[in-house]
């Protein structure tokens, strides 16, 4: 059923958003969040809402519930639910159909469930309180939903507490909670974004199955085109609160029209350099042998062997909890190792920061995933980048200023940014500042811990391209920690795959990605959604076979 255009029927649309305008107040100014969006969804249809962070997707999704975040107001347009404008009725009225006629599935199920109540109590609550069901019928329906969502042991699932089930199961439980009153419309707001790729597939399959089984209409909000291609019939691409392109899914995947839509493929289409093997010349810069590390009694890393050559990019791939970040922390000296050794530049590396010389600290830098927390919000760019210059090289005054300028140019920013604080910069700019700060130390190895995963696709591609350029120019080595196979494909020379604190496979990029040996690597690679309609159908068919 994917890829078919749903033929126009005379039925009333489930929801009809007409020229909706929403403004929100930030920094004492009203800015347009949603700017004249018109959308309509027919019964049983799934509309994918794609866009980057700040595009207004979530605001639009919540508006479909007749809900506005505090500080936001509707300045024009209507949201017609089964023909009635719900923005015109008072809040009291709106609350009655929230959860019953229109339901919402949020990104973080952990935050949506109350940890002190059993799942079943929370799932049936709306149905009993407002949906007019008895507890018995509600529980029976919940049980059906658990089965449809392929939850394990559906009979007893409801008796568990939120912390007793996995992240993927909890996300499916939230879908059950949304479906309990048999709503006509469900808003999915990035329901799989916080999950690991292998879990994401399971949840995607469940969500799609339940949508099809119950014939409910849905708005599926995501930033990931590959995901939306698996579930939606139609896609609307949102940018700066406006719909820039709207078309059936197959059409948008094959022939995107708007340049912005095309740019969503940015990382996917980065030129892959198959031949050039960087580094590998001479002795490796970093050689780890038999490394182990513990948190208390828990062993997080077990017999790790890894080498990073000079001027080489090694990607460390794995899911959350696999220990890849911990390995990064051991290398920069934030975590003590319990066995094995780390040889840096031919000499064993001291365990923790306090025992390393300033000269050693300078050579190994780290860049974090979230530039928001990695940059002090109270410091200007001048101070952030200038501090390592003063600390390591004793630069002050005009010479320091000149070097800061140079570094800003190196990361493709300019002197207009020098007096700003992080709050006055965009996400991509902030990450560039963090990179400039690392470069200010004149390092030989940079540990990049998921540095592009919080960025939008276009910005991601720009930052990656810049990192490659810097490597060619400065000869710096990267240890690139990531969960994103697409990123690995774009920049890595070699790949190491981690699972449960061990490296299960490592080797040249082409070898690992094209002919994976370990089962886990294969599973990981198979779980990454393709940018193609019908990929999920293929997976389901393969499993059935």
């Amino acid at each position: 059923m994917k890829g078919q255009t749903v033929t126009a029927t005379p039925t009333v649309p489930v929801i009809d958003i007409v020229d909706l305008k929403i403004e929100a107040k930030s920094n004492d100014q009203w800015s347009k969040i949603v700017n004249g969006v018109s959308l309509s969804i027919r019964p049983g249809e799934v509309l994918g809402l794609v866009g980057e962070s700040g595009a207004g997707k979530s605001t639009l999704g919540l508006a479909a519930l007749g809900y506005l975040r505090p500080g936001a107001k509707v300045t024009g347009g209507e949201v017609r639910l089964s023909g009635h404008n719900i923005l015109a009725v008072p809040e009291e009225e709106r609350r009655k159909f929230r959860g019953t006629k229109v339901a919402y599935v949020a990104q973080s199920a952990q935050a949506a469930f109350n940890p002190v109540h059993r799942l079943m109590d929370q799932i049936v609550m709306v149905a009993v309180d407002r949906g007019g069901m008895t507890r018995g019928t509600a529980e029976k329906r919940a049980l059906d939903l658990f089965r449809a969502l392929q939850l394990p042991d559906p009979q007893n699932f409801g008796r568990r507490y939120p912390h007793q089930v996995s992240g993927g199961q909890l996300q499916r439980a939230m879908v059950a909670m949304a479906m309990i009153c048999n709503p006509t419309l469900i808003i999915f707001d990035e329901p799989t974004t916080a999950l690991d790729v292998t879990t994401q597939v399971e949840v995607l399959i469940s969500i799609r199955k339940v949508i099809e089984d119950y014939g409910v209409a849905a708005i599926y909000i995501t930033h990931d085109l590959a995901v939306v291609a698996q579930v939606a019939h139609r896609v609307a691409v949102l940018r700066y609160g406006e719909v820039v392109e709207e078309a059936p899914i197959a059409q948008i995947m094959e022939r995107p029209v708007h340049p912005y839509t095309k740019s969503l493929w940015a990382v996917h289409e980065m030129p892959v350099d198959h031949d050039a093997q960087h580094g590998g010349k001479g002795a490796p810069l970093l050689a780890i042998a038999g490394l182990g590390a513990h948190y208390g009694d828990f062993q997080v890393l077990t017999s790790i062997d890894l080498e990073v050559g000079r001027g080489e990019t090694v990607a460390l791939v794995g899911e959350s909890g696999s220990g890849k970040s911990t390995l990064g922390r051991v290398i920069v000296g934030l975590k003590e190792l319990s066995s094995g050794q780390v040889i840096y530049d031919g000499k064993p590396l001291q365990g923790t920061i306090r025992r390393r010389s300033l000269q050693t600290l300078k050579q190994i830098q780290i860049i974090y995933q979230s530039a928001d927390t990695a940059l002090n919000p109270r410091q200007t760019v001048r101070k952030i980048i200038g501090r390592p210059l003063t600390l390591y090289q004793g630069l002050r005054g005009a010479r320091r200023e000149a070097r800061v300028q140079e570094l800003l140019n190196l990361v493709e920013l300019n002197e207009t940014h020098i007096d700003r604080t992080p709050g006055q910069l965009s996400g991509g700019q902030k990450q560039r500042i963090a990179i400039a700060r690392a470069l200010a130390a004149d390092p030989r190895l940079i540990v990049c811990d998921e540095i592009t995963s919080a960025l939008d696709k276009v910005v991601q591609a720009e930052v990656l391209r810049m990192l490659m350029k810097l490597q060619a120019r400065l000869g710096v080595s990267y240890l690139f920690i990531t969960h994103d196979i697409e990123v690995v494909r774009a920049i890595a020379d070699r790949v190491a795959v981690m699972q449960n604190g061990r490296i299960v496979e490592q080797g040249g990029k082409d070898q690992v990605l094209a002919q994976p040996h370990a089962d886990y690597t294969r599973k990981l690679l198979d779980s990454v959604p393709d940018m193609a309609v019908g990929w999920l159908d293929g997976i389901v068919a393969e499993r059935a076979a």
Partner: protein
């Protein structure tokens, strides 16, 4: 007092922002700021404003009633009451300010360091602070002052140490949140010293929270000093101080004269004004978001 704190040694664009901020304040806060400004003005220019000297005996008659030459009459030794009131502002406010500043520095520094280091250091300081806080401030001060003698230095030190426990608590709690952020970790990886991290990375981020506590503590210190002076162990004569002025002239109340209540009212008025400003700052600090 709050204004002068906010604009201390900052770039001009911050000064403008502070001005804009002041203009957007609610009427109560504006009223408070005006009152605080008047007190500060009187304290600064006391020698110019006061008609007579601080300890100058101007009349042979003690407790002279209000007249054209002595607007508020004279006190028990025949000194001009208005002049003493004006000099009293200078003494009381400057001593309270100094005490607040010392306790602020001690409390914040220890609090931030405890949060950064953690472990045994944190435990040791925190339990010591708990012990100090468990003794009622006023009684503790009275005890120490009666042992070591009542000098202004002793007074300032003992109150500063006791008040620093409050700053410690708040600074530590706020710093714990900041200390777990990546930029603090990055500073450690960079090889910065603990003191540098505390002052440059953590402190600027917890300042908005502590600022309101600063105003509140100033009020309490001010009242404490007045109360101690009223009890006779605070600031010693002949230095003019509002608390002791109330005590020394209290006999007048029996005769239906309200003059001794004027310094008491001056104390209360300043406390209320500072509280208005603090309330507003507290609201801002706990509000949705800080200016980016």
């Amino acid at each position: 007092m709050q204004q002068s704190l906010e604009v201390r040694s900052v770039a001009p664009n911050r000064l403008l922002r502070a001005l804009k901020l002041v203009r957007s304040a609610p009427p109560t806060a504006k009223f408070g700021m005006v009152v605080v400004a008047i007190y500060a003005f009187v304290a600064l220019f006391a020698p110019l404003l006061a008609p007579y000297g601080e300890v100058e005996v101007v009349s042979r008659v003690p407790f002279e009633p209000w007249s054209a030459s002595h607007l508020l009459g004279t006190d028990q030794l025949g000194r001009d009451f208005l002049s003493r009131l004006i000099f009293g502002a200078r003494n009381s406010i400057s001593i309270a300010l100094l005490t607040t500043a010392i306790s602020f520095v001690i409390g914040c520094l220890l609090g931030v360091l405890a949060a950064l280091v953690g472990g045994i250091v944190d435990q040791a300081i925190s339990r010591l602070v708990d012990a100090l806080m468990s003794v009622p401030d006023l009684i503790f001060t009275l005890m120490i002052l009666s042992i070591f003698g009542s000098s202004v230095t002793n007074l300032i030190l003992i109150i500063a140490v006791l008040t620093s426990t409050r700053f410690y608590r708040i600074a530590r709690a706020a710093a714990l949140n900041v200390a777990s952020l990546d930029f603090v970790e990055h500073a450690k990886v960079r090889g910065e010293s603990l003191l540098w991290i505390a002052v440059n990375e953590v402190f600027p981020n917890i300042l908005p929270l502590i600022l309101s506590e600063l105003g509140m503590r100033f009020c309490f210190i001010f009242l404490n000093i007045a109360a101690l002076s009223f009890l006779g162990v605070g600031i010693q004569p002949p230095t003019a101080e509002w608390g002791s002025m109330v005590r020394d002239n209290a006999a007048l109340i029996n005769m239906g004269d309200i003059t001794p209540l004027i310094p008491a009212a001056a104390i209360a008025f300043l406390a209320i004004a500072v509280n208005f400003v603090v309330d507003w700052l507290l609201n801002r600090a706990s509000g949705l978001s800080e200016e980016g």
